[in-house]
Symmetry: C2
Subunit: 251 residues, 2 copies
């Protein structure tokens, strides 16, 4: 079944050809995105398409200099967006009550479901994709860059283009590690050993430990990739963006 | 192309047959879910499968009595989950720094991308799905129901089963209403009229206005479906869950 194969064959692509994506293909992909479920059919999201080369270079810098950001022909920035809906309410004698955290999270869910449909649709067209986690870290700068009004917050970005590499598919935890039957069955120490064994025994893990001169793979995450210090800093950046963009008036 | 058709043909299903989903199909759908992109390949999510009839009845009550919740054979509750990852770090001489808002949002993105892959995979198997927005409203009660430890927060739920209805596909806003080229082009009053015209002229809208005795469709959203009072209440419920589950230690 082609749909299942598309999903099961997903690989993140980090090296792209400069070939453009034709307008018809891009529109089909976006339309497939907009068919994702949306709360109350409100569609409280927006997508910003970046193709301009200068803008891609600037965005590359904002996204921590990841080269693919300027290399790929299209960037799609997905935003939680109540601005449009609020404006509509105000023009229709209705008083919007969407300046709160729940509304932000509702809009973020909407935007993220669209992004994943777009990712799947792109791969079905032999395009490659990469999600940029830097979107939330740099949300304040992206608000400025895209001139986002109140009610709009960027939540994720997809790099989209034709792959210039064919990497191996990466590992995933065993099914039993992430699925719970009926209730949350908390993990024993033995469960944790079991769930992470395959990942820890990969040649890639040995290579990373050697490169980083660390004893465990978990230390690479806590000391190098996602440190407490960075997480706290970017938590406060993102919380401030939510406040500045008008989503924290429930407090 | 089958994948694009699957995406473009999505309809939310609210009426299900009681037919069970065989284990092989359910596992394929979940595996397709787990192939979604995940931050740093951390897979900071869990899925709780509910099949038990008594549990579905109880969940039906928690999800505001929506009948399909007990009618459909399977419910999938998607959780942001740093509990497993934290336990792994602690067993591997690594100090996790994931008790903050950024980590919650990262894990929520992970969980939501999985949920959308699962939705697409389910529809490719002729199953129907419905997202339950009530998951965030009732997150505190779901934490108790599923016995979720610190580091775990439910973010969405999918009802999955064989459709017992064949509804018309619902409307979406025109493409230009949700896509911005290069920068966020804020909406003029005329843009808003234009974007919402088709929706406002639907027979369904006339019917809703008649039923609710209101003047505009927007008022149905602000006064009936998603009121400021409810949004503030559920914002505070959800923020408290984030705090209680150990994700707000950046403040």
């Amino acid at each position: 079944m082609q749909t299942i194969e598309t999903l099961l064959n997903h690989k993140t692509i980090r090296n792209y050809k400069s070939d453009p994506i034709d307008e018809k293909t891009l529109n089909t992909i976006l339309d497939a995105g907009f068919r994702a479920s949306t709360t109350g059919n409100m569609q409280v999201y927006s997508v910003i398409v970046t193709k301009d080369e200068e803008k891609r270079k600037e965005l590359c810098k904002l996204h921590f200099g990841q080269k693919m950001v300027e290399q790929a022909p299209v960037l799609l920035t997905f935003c939680a967006d109540f601005n449009r809906f609020n404006k509509w309410c105000e023009q229709r004698k209705a008083e919007p009550g969407y300046d709160n955290f729940l509304s932000f999270f509702t809009a973020a869910i909407d935007a993220l479901l669209v992004s994943q449909n777009v990712a799947v649709a792109a791969e079905a067209h032999n395009l490659g994709i990469c999600y940029l986690g830097t979107t939330t870290y740099q949300a304040d700068k992206l608000v400025d860059f895209f001139n986002l009004p109140k009610g709009v917050v960027p939540v994720t970005t997809l790099v989209v283009g034709y792959p210039n590499e064919n990497p191996e598919q990466v590992d995933r935890l065993p099914h039993k590690g992430v699925v719970h039957q009926e209730t949350y069955d908390d993990y024993s120490a033995a469960d944790i050993d079991d769930i992470y064994r395959e990942k820890e025994n990969l040649p890639l893990t040995a290579q990373l430990l050697e490169e980083n001169q660390l004893e465990t793979l978990a230390q690479i995450f806590t000391q190098k990739r996602y440190t407490k210090k960075d997480n706290i800093h970017f938590s406060n950046v993102f919380m401030k963006v939510l406040k500045d963009q008008g989503f924290m008036n429930n407090a």
